[in-house]
Amino acid sequence: MIEFDRVSLTLGSFCLKDVSLNVGKGDYYFIIGPSGAGKTVLLEAIAGLHSPGSGRVLLRDEEITALPPEKRGVALVYQDYSLFPNMTVADNVSYGLRVRGMRKGEARTGVAGLLERFGIAHLADRYPGTLSGGEQQRVALARAVAVKPDILLLDEPLSALDPVTQERFIDDLRRLHREEGLTIVQVSHSRREAHLLATRVAVIIDGTLVDEEEAEVVLNTPRSREVASFVGIENILDGIVTANEDGHATVDAGGRTFEVVTEAAAGEAVTLCIRADDVVLVTGDERRSSARNTMAGRVVSVAENGPVAEVKVDCGVTLTAVLTRRSARDLALVPGIAVTLSVKATAIHVIG
């Protein structure tokens, strides 16, 4: 639907370098990256608010690099909502229709259904300054949807909301994406949101696009160490391949050997990514598991975090496992006790 072809742009001290990406129709496209990586600028560039120094922007295969934002059919919702403080909620939502030449009364009836759907009909005559964060967010979203955009751009829409409101808003967004078939591009630094919503993910670090794939692929089998640590893979180990037989390789990482599945030849340096929920723990010294990598170790720490417990185990290298809090208590995991840890060879993602 929208395509960036080697777009570079400089904005003060900040710059995007050679960014190429492709947002397909109906995608829920996530742009994730650490703070200050240039996500918002990228979003504004899609909206046409910054013109690139070089490169091309294409919309449905037509070049729109120089097309002003009002002609792109792209609606933008900022993190700070940016509601017009001089207009009521209804006037905010109907703004897009009015600037397209619709009469005020007509526009207001036009958005009545929308206000109803977003649960803000009772706020229609209030001014934004008197609304709560969650209400403002819904008004901002309704205002953007009102113009029936081809693409909806969301700039960290959840970060300013409290956790309960966040959950409700995530549901709203999911419904909007599924039921309307809307193409959504969302900027976020939260991996959790990406896990919950994204169909496709781009990772941007320091103004450079470092990875762009299906959400599953980026989040579970990232292409680089940088991305792996950013998407929150708990165990990242550097090692060297010692032997490889038909793709079944042995990797020496920090004094421990791991059996993995990879094409990397013996002698090559690789990075192993192991998700914490792929690490299985049993107490004691029994080796019953059918997994290829089984090793003994001692619990270093147990941190309970809501319904889950994060357990760090020292077995030559320190690995993190995630259990439900219930099972961590059943196993009586406390620092110092001996455990056996196992990881399936296929659960280890190898970055060559």
Binding site: P69, E70, D80, F84, Y95, V99, P149, V334
Partner: protein, 309 residues
């Protein structure tokens, strides 16, 4: 071997004791100290710093108050003369002319100064922008006679702009347009700078959103940016108007006639003497205070949304 974590009870006890120690000794002690200090001043705490500042400030305000008082006592002592001067057609005409010329200058400023202020507010910092900003500020730093001379040289009958404009029947020398253009020149920084501050306060995000919702640059300006800067526009206009109607040296060079109020006061000071000029001045003070009070009152119902931007 499992290592037992500290039990809940033990843990709780420790923190309890800690809180007790802190609240018991430190906080209570501090409160007592401040209480004794309070009592020393018989229930009244004196902040000598603020008292000092007030005395210094009063000296400054005192000058204005004394000056007004000295004029008011003289004038109110002879109300008949004051009334006679205040109601003379010469004075009324001059006051109206001054206010009208000032308003005219402000209107022109609003028309040409608002776009300039917007461009300055949104332009990225650059040497060119700095130069333009300095040019805008020039009337602020020039002696008024210099400003008057500048206006005269440009708009006199043989001036660069005066010559072609007098060709189409627009004369500036000793004429109403001359008054307006001189006022415009000296008042322009007040309007442009205030307006620019107002535009700078409107978040660019609001404009960006309006753009993506389908509004062109001008529609965005008209429906979002300008309404949110109305209060600054109004304040800038009042500043500029106040500056314009008070101008003397800037105006007399290009337009000694028709008499604006400053010129009239100076003229009667040098010809009729102190009594008449004082009565005119007092009339002007009363009228100006009244008008500015009204204008300030009107701000209250204007641009309330500015605060929430």
């Amino acid at each position: 071997m499992p290592i037992a974590p500290p039990s809940r009870e033990e843990h709780g006890l420790h923190t309890d004791m800690k809180t007790r120690v802190i609240s018991g000794d430190l906080l209570r002690g501090g409160r007592e100290a401040s209480l004794t200090r309070w009592k020393k001043h018989r229930g009244r705490y004196v902040d000598w710093c603020i008292v000092g500042f007030c005395i210094m400030g009063a000296a400054l305000v005192g000058i204005t108050v004394l000056a007004l008082a000295s004029m008011a006592t003289a004038e109110l002592g002879n109300p008949a003369h004051l009334l006679e001067v205040a109601l003379s057609s010469e004075v009324i005409h001059s006051i109206l002319l001054t206010f009208a010329a000032g308003a005219n200058a402000v209107l022109l400023l609003a028309l040409f100064g608002t776009p300039l202020a917007y461009v300055l507010a949104r332009a990225h910092p650059s040497r060119f922008k700095g130069v333009v900003e300095s040019i805008v500020d020039i009337p602020l730093i020039l002696p008024h006679t210099v400003a008057g001379l500048l206006v005269y040289l440009l708009f006199m009958r043989r001036g660069w702009l005066g010559a072609p404009l007098s060709g189409i029947g627009l004369a500036f020398e000793d004429a109403y347009p001359g008054t307006v253009v001189a006022m415009l020149f000296v008042a322009s920084p007040f309007y442009v700078n205030t307006m620019r501050e107002g535009f700078e306060k409107v978040p660019v995000h609001l404009e960006n959103v309006a753009r993506t919702l389908g509004a062109g640059t001008f529609t965005t300006f008209r429906t979002v940016t300008l309404p949110l800067s109305l209060r600054h526009m109004y304040n800038g206009a009042i500043f500029a108007w106040g500056r314009a109607i008070g101008e003397f040296a800037g105006v007399i060079m290009i337009a000694y006639y028709p008499f604006i109020i400053s010129t009239l006061i100076y003229y009667s000071f040098t010809t009729d003497g102190i009594q008449t000029s004082r009565s005119i001045a007092f009339t002007v003070i009363l009228v100006s205070l009244g008008v500015f009070y009204l204008l300030r009152r009107m701000t209250r119902c204007l641009g309330r949304h500015d605060d929430r931007v």
